[in-house]
């Protein structure tokens, strides 16, 4: 009787229920929670991929953190990451995504289907494939872009590396903002838009006074989510390998180069922890927004 009161219709009981939950928790514990916690330890050692320190890592205290925070290459990487996230996600994807969602409301369904299909395709294709498609598009000697623009011999990925990966990521990820803003715009009461139209408000005034106040929560949600994803994006590595001269070495690429290519696992772990903490800050901000929206 007590069990059905708690909704235990199948008569699992606490013990068997724990048995059902345990395997998943063990797997998550070992391969998700433990690595995150272990980073705390790894980051204060001189752990290496090969050599003496690989066999017997030593405790080095906060040295990895101090040297990271005073290292120009790390600080530059942090700055490049900021530029990349702001340019491609916060400005680029948001603007394109919103513009498409806004225009598509009054576009003929066939045109709408074509536009949305291509934007979605850019998003769902495997990252290795889209990376190669962009390598082909931007190729110096035989790329389609140079053929169209008549800019023979322009090596986009060498001359404009950061701009290239920013435009690439706008192309790659705009679909999410488009989907989110489409549903956000659909949730605006039509009567409000109708009123704005009746009083003769222009597009900008309508956006500012009617649309934006209605979708503020969506804007924050969208911005925080795409910031988190873009901050963790490894695909630019496939386009530029962080080069030329580390000019596109965003944090995901930087941590790969330091820890796995050069084998400095201890310092790499310190950077990993810094990245996890930045992720945590973004995620907590996101949860706060969700909580406020529910209120």
């Amino acid at each position: 009787v007590r069990q059905s009161a708690t909704g235990d219709a199948a008569g699992l009981g606490r013990l068997r229920a724990s048995g059902f939950i345990a395997p998943a928790m063990v797997l998550v514990g070992v391969f998700l929670v433990f690595p995150a916690l272990w980073t705390l330890y790894l980051g204060v050692t001189n752990w290496r991929l090969t050599g003496f320190a690989a066999a017997q890592p030593e405790f080095v205290g906060l040295e990895n953190y101090l040297s990271a925070l005073t290292d120009d290459r790390f600080l530059t990487s942090l700055r490049l990451t900021l530029v990349f996230v702001l340019g491609s996600a916060v400005l680029g994807q948001t603007t394109i995504g919103f513009a498409v969602a806004w225009l598509m409301r009054r576009t003929a369904p066939p045109v709408r289907a074509v536009v949305e299909t291509f934007i979605l395709l850019a998003w769902i294709l495997p990252s290795s494939v889209v990376a190669f498609l962009w390598l082909a598009l931007l190729d110096r000697r035989d790329g389609t872009l140079n053929a169209i623009l008549g800019s023979e011999g322009t090596a986009w990925l060498l001359e404009y590396p950061m701009q290239s990966i920013i435009v690439f990521n706008i192309w790659n990820g705009a679909a999410f903002s488009m989907l989110l803003y489409s549903s956000a715009l659909a949730s605006i009461p039509p009567s409000q838009l109708e009123t704005a139209r009746m009083v003769g408000a222009g597009t900008w005034a309508t956006l500012r006074d009617v649309v934006f106040p209605n979708i503020r929560g969506h804007v924050l949600t969208n911005t925080l989510l795409i910031t988190l994803w873009t901050f963790n994006l490894f695909t630019p590595y496939l386009l530029t390998r962080g080069g030329p001269e580390q000019r596109t070495e965003i944090l995901p690429v930087y941590v790969y180069q330091v820890a796995l290519r050069d084998g400095a696992l201890g310092p790499g772990a310190a950077i990993s922890l810094i990245m996890i903490l930045i992720n945590l800050a973004i995620a907590l901000a996101y949860m706060r927004v969700l909580k406020e929206r529910r209120r």
């Binding site: 797997l27 391969f31 272990w38 979605l120 598009l137 994006l233 696992l265």
Partner: protein
């Protein structure tokens, strides 16, 4: 005045729409033309139709094996995620475990911040210490660990909304709880399970980073990693092979997407893609 403004607005709209279509379509067109071209180049061109590139693909042992590897890794991860998430979400949905909601939200938060990229170093060291480097199992376990929290979260929501009366009557007739799960709950929860299955396959199929850092030998690479090793004897990318391979590698994702889109509408897919 208003007429001019409306006209200008309309022209601006069409110009912008054309720009959008060109910008988003241009890179993808290569994927539909080059695989069928007799002499595929990097530059986009109308193909001189042939299926030779696919024949080349069939004859390349690495290409076929890598697609097989992708299949093993994605289906393996899917199986682990599906079974463990179904068990856990069912128990969490039916039995009041103390601190359940806190546990679920904490795990969900962790899985969104401990990403493959940010946790690259500890994951690599852990797999090395477990002597699982260069094994498909390593990729399956790491991917499953990352996907499970969200899978449990979505499935639990689903289980909460399924009626419990069938389970009660099955119990009256003396079925054990595993029997109830298999013969009563799983059939009812099938749409939710199908969603999780499709979602986890899509997440793993295209993933580059995890197999890239955990696997060593070329004949174990999945498709996402192997693509960048296709060079001709002259050191140039083997475009005939790469183009056909890219298309074959992309088709399953597009088909799964269409499947989800038809069944649940793409907003749903948008919500669950990470």
């Amino acid at each position: 005045m208003t007429f001019v403004r409306t006209a200008l607005g309309r022209i601006g709209r069409y110009v912008f729409l054309c720009f959008l279509v060109v910008f988003f379509a241009l890179p993808v067109l290569w994927l539909v033309t080059a695989p069928f071209d007799r002499a595929p180049a990097l530059r986009l061109s109308l193909p001189e139709f042939t299926l030779d590139n696919f024949r080349l693909l069939m004859d390349n042992p690495y290409a076929l094996r890598s697609l097989g590897n992708s299949l093993i890794i994605s289906l393996g991860t899917m199986a682990v995620v599906l079974v463990l998430a179904a068990l856990a979400s069912y128990a969490l949905s039916r039995v009041r475990v103390p601190g359940r909601d806190l546990l679920l939200y904490t795990l969900l938060l962790l899985s969104s911040i401990v990403t493959g990229t940010a946790a690259m170093v500890p994951t690599f060291v852990l797999i090395t210490e477990l002597r699982l480097i260069d094994q498909h199992l390593a990729v399956v376990l790491v991917m499953a660990g990352g996907l499970l929290p969200a899978a449990i979260f979505i499935l639990k929501d689903f289980m909460d909304n399924t009626p419990q009366s069938y389970e009660e009557s099955a119990r009256v007739y003396g079925a054990s709880s595993l029997q109830i799960l298999r013969h009563v709950v799983v059939p009812i929860a099938r749409p939710g399970l199908a969603t999780i299955a499709v979602w986890s396959v899509v997440q793993v199929w295209g993933n580059f980073l995890v197999p890239f850092i955990l696997l060593r030998t070329a004949n174990k690479f999945p498709a996402a990693v192997v693509m960048f090793t296709f060079y001709t004897e002259g050191g140039q990318p083997n475009l005939a092979l790469i183009s056909a391979f890219s298309l074959l590698f992309s088709v399953p994702v597009v088909l799964l997407y269409l499947f989800v889109n038809r069944r649940y509408g793409f907003r749903f897919y948008g919500g669950i893609k990470r």
